[in-house]
């Protein structure tokens, strides 16, 4: 058999049927469901009198709309003050009840951001096809799965048929060799990749992340990287299975049981690209030269090393990029040549499906321990990605470290990543955020987002402006 990439293998394993028009029917092993993109899909099933093809393939949890303040949260769904949010969350509960779908509802300790909950429960596993009505589904590719976001009509399609109509993507390898410096994390790596290939660089490709840096990285770090594949234009990001993957999965609630474990592992160990597999594109980065990154603009590719300055429009020869830079500087209220470390902050947000896992929180806590957030800061939030992350962090005393330093410790959810609940930026406010999108208005109307790693966000919270976290460790 010809050499295959990881993506080729996953694709071939799930191919139900190829059609004459070049599309294919792909079998879906796992669908994750949340409250925002599912109501019309369930409604569609009802209208057509259909039942889910395989109920147990679906797992649901509310995340986008849930409040993160304990007082509002403790009354459950009925306590959600925003009516439209409340109805959406309630609708998810009702739909899951009606169709018999397993749901981790609002105050279940397993509730959280779908992309944190899936791997945490072992509900997303190596070798699976995973979909969700959310573009950051690529996160699950870190486990050696084929995972990507879909639209609402596709959510319904998967519910009803357990399949998706797809066209195969091209293969891209992003290889990061060498060793990361101290204080440089997965988030800096992925921002550096996006800075290099651009937000459309991965369009049409499934990206496999490889190289020594990825091999050395924890599962949490790999998830952070795959999470942002979509910010490089690729719907799919993934990492080959290795011992780190297998150790991570072992013992999780939905993982294979003892009888099946050996069989599963021997299959999973085949989930890597063959040595001479063909990639349509290869991008290489030297891990040792990656520095902590900060976005200065309104697209994730508008990113610079923390020691750099905000670029000038004239630094870009491409006229489209030049005018995008101009517009971004205006929106962000920054001037060309300004040092990144001179950007002062109003708020700090540590959370989101990119960076709200236990390792992220440990990384942030280590930086703020024994210090106090800057007086000038209006608010600094730490929002764990799931109830179980929260519990673990509390067991380790991280919540105390945060609150003693003056950061707020919240209930799990998407929170200020997209500001669908009450956690928002005010117009003109600068935020150091560990989330994944710095688009105009993403974190609140007129809000100014700077994407950074948890350690960088934590250091910025203490200093009140960006600092090179490497000087603090």
């Amino acid at each position: 058999m010809a050499s295959q990439t990881l993506y080729d293998k996953l694709w071939a394993a799930h191919l139900v049927k190829e059609r004459d028009d070049g599309t294919a029917l792909i079998y879906i092993d796992r669908q994750l469901v949340h409250e925002v993109t599912s109501p019309q899909a369930f409604e569609g099933l009802r209208l057509a009198g259909r039942q889910p093809w395989r109920v147990s393939a679906n797992i649901a949890t509310p995340d986008h709309n849930v409040p993160t303040v304990l007082a509002e949260r403790s009354a459950g769904v009925s306590g959600i003050q925003d009516e439209i949010s409340r109805i959406q969350v309630q609708t998810l509960d009702d739909n899951c009840d009606e169709f018999g779908i397993t749901e981790f509802s609002i105050n279940d300790e397993r509730q959280g951001i779908v992309h944190v909950v899936g791997p945490e429960q072992g509900a997303t596993l190596p070798g699976m096809t995973v979909v969700c009505g959310d573009s950051h589904t690529a996160t699950h590719g870190a486990l050696g799965a084929l995972a990507h976001g879909i639209g609402t009509s596709e959510v319904e399609h998967v519910l009803a048929t357990q399949c998706l109509i797809q066209k195969k993507s091209k293969n891209m390898l992003v290889r990061i060799d060498g060793k990361l410096g101290a204080g440089v994390t997965a988030k800096d790596v992925v921002l550096a990749v996006i800075g290099k290939i651009g937000t459309a660089g991965g369009t049409g490709y499934a990206i496999e992340f490889g190289g020594q840096v990825i091999r050395d990285m924890s599962m949490e770090g790999r998830m952070t990287i795959c999470n942002m594949a979509i910010e490089a234009g690729a719907r799919v990001g993934m990492v080959a299975v290795d011992e780190t993957t297998i150790n991570y999965v072992k013992g999780r609630p939905f993982a294979p049981n003892e009888q099946e474990w050996e069989q599963a592992v021997s299959y999973w160990q085949t989930l890597h690209s063959d040595p001479d597999a063909h990639f349509d594109a290869v991008v290489e980065l030297d891990g040792s030269s990656i520095e902590p990154q900060v976005t200065w603009g309104t697209s994730p590719e508008m990113v610079a090393a923390v020691g750099a300055v905000v670029p000038a429009p004239n630094d870009f020869s491409d006229p489209v990029k030049r005018s995008a830079c101009e517009r971004a500087l205006t929106y962000m209220g920054l001037s060309a040549g300004q040092a990144i470390t001179d950007i002062t902050l109003d708020r700090v947000f540590i959370g989101s499906c990119t960076n709200s896992r236990i390792e992220d929180l440990r990384e942030a806590a280590a930086v703020v321990k024994g210090k106090k957030v800057a007086e000038s800061l209006k608010e600094a939030l730490v929002v764990p990605g799931s109830g179980l992350v929260k519990k673990q962090a509390e067991a380790e005393g991280l919540d105390k470290i945060f609150t003693e330093a003056g950061l707020q410790w919240r209930e799990p959810g998407c929170s200020m990543c997209l500001a669908m609940n009450a956690d928002k930026l005010g117009a003109g406010e600068h935020c150091a955020s560990t989330s994944n999108r710095n688009f105009e208005g993403r974190q609140g109307f007129g809000g100014r987002t700077h994407l950074v790693s948890p350690a960088m966000a934590a250091a910025a919270a203490i200093a009140g402006h960006f600092v090179d976290v490497r000087e603090w460790i």
Binding site: K17, Y27, E43, G127, H157, Q162, C163, N257
Partner: protein, 216 residues
């Protein structure tokens, strides 16, 4: 999706050109979590005298007596006669959802906006393009005889008027096939249900752990 073969339906007028999707279903109703239930708000701004709000009981609202769909003679209509460029504007699929929910299964017009035209087929509605003079004729016959019904036969691609006149219309063969058989994307995929089941059986043998039931 509901199948469409023959329809013997009462005809009603939407007698103006460039009816946009905002007119068909205004934006405030898009916050809904549903894709059904838009019928009471179809043509909301023309149909009622007050401003519509999502979730309100429309039976209590002041209706516009001028608007034809409010007239007794058009109650229960399922064929909509319309003018040029029907369904222009935003791509909201809520527009065909609203028409369908109200009870329309067929819209006849001299021309349609592209996206709306496509969206109709996905939602069990047959949009028929006829020459402007033929549409004009239908309008005047309808206005002059109460209870004017049209017999729309999709397999035969004909419309028969009460006087027995037969009008032929064109329809894309693939879309016709889907509509007659009530096939949306899901319906089409389900035609491969056996292949999916075969795949699934085989896959379950190779990866049994993916098929274990879990209790929450």
């Amino acid at each position: 999706m509901k199948a469409f073969t023959q329809l013997d339906g009462l005809a009603a007028p939407m007698d103006r050109a460039n009816v946009d999707t905002d007119m068909i279903i205004p934006k405030q109703f898009l916050k809904s979590i549903k894709r059904s239930g838009f019928g009471p708000n179809l043509f909301d701004e023309l149909r009622y005298l007050d401003e519509g709000r999502p979730g309100e009981d429309c039976s209590q609202r002041p209706i516009n007596p001028e608007f034809p769909l409010n007239h007794a003679r058009y109650q229960g209509a399922s064929v909509l006669l319309a003018r040029e460029n029907f369904g222009c504007g935003s791509s909201r699929e809520h527009a065909p959802w609203a028409l369908e929910d109200y009870g329309f299964r067929c819209v006849i017009a001299p021309s349609f906006a592209d996206i709306f035209f496509n969206n109709c087929f996905k939602n069990g509605i047959l949009p028929i393009v006829l020459p402007a003079d033929v549409v004009e004729n239908l309008f005047s016959e309808m206005y002059s005889s109460e209870g004017y019904r049209l017999l729309v036969d999709l397999p035969a691609q004909t419309i028969t008027t009460p006087a027995g006149d037969v009008i032929n219309f064109d329809v894309d063969a693939f879309r016709k096939h889907c509509l007659i058989n009530g096939l949306d994307d899901i319906g089409l995929t389900l035609q491969d249900a056996d292949a999916i089941r075969d795949f699934e059986k085989n896959w379950q043998q190779k990866s049994p752990w993916l098929f274990r039931e879990h209790r929450a």
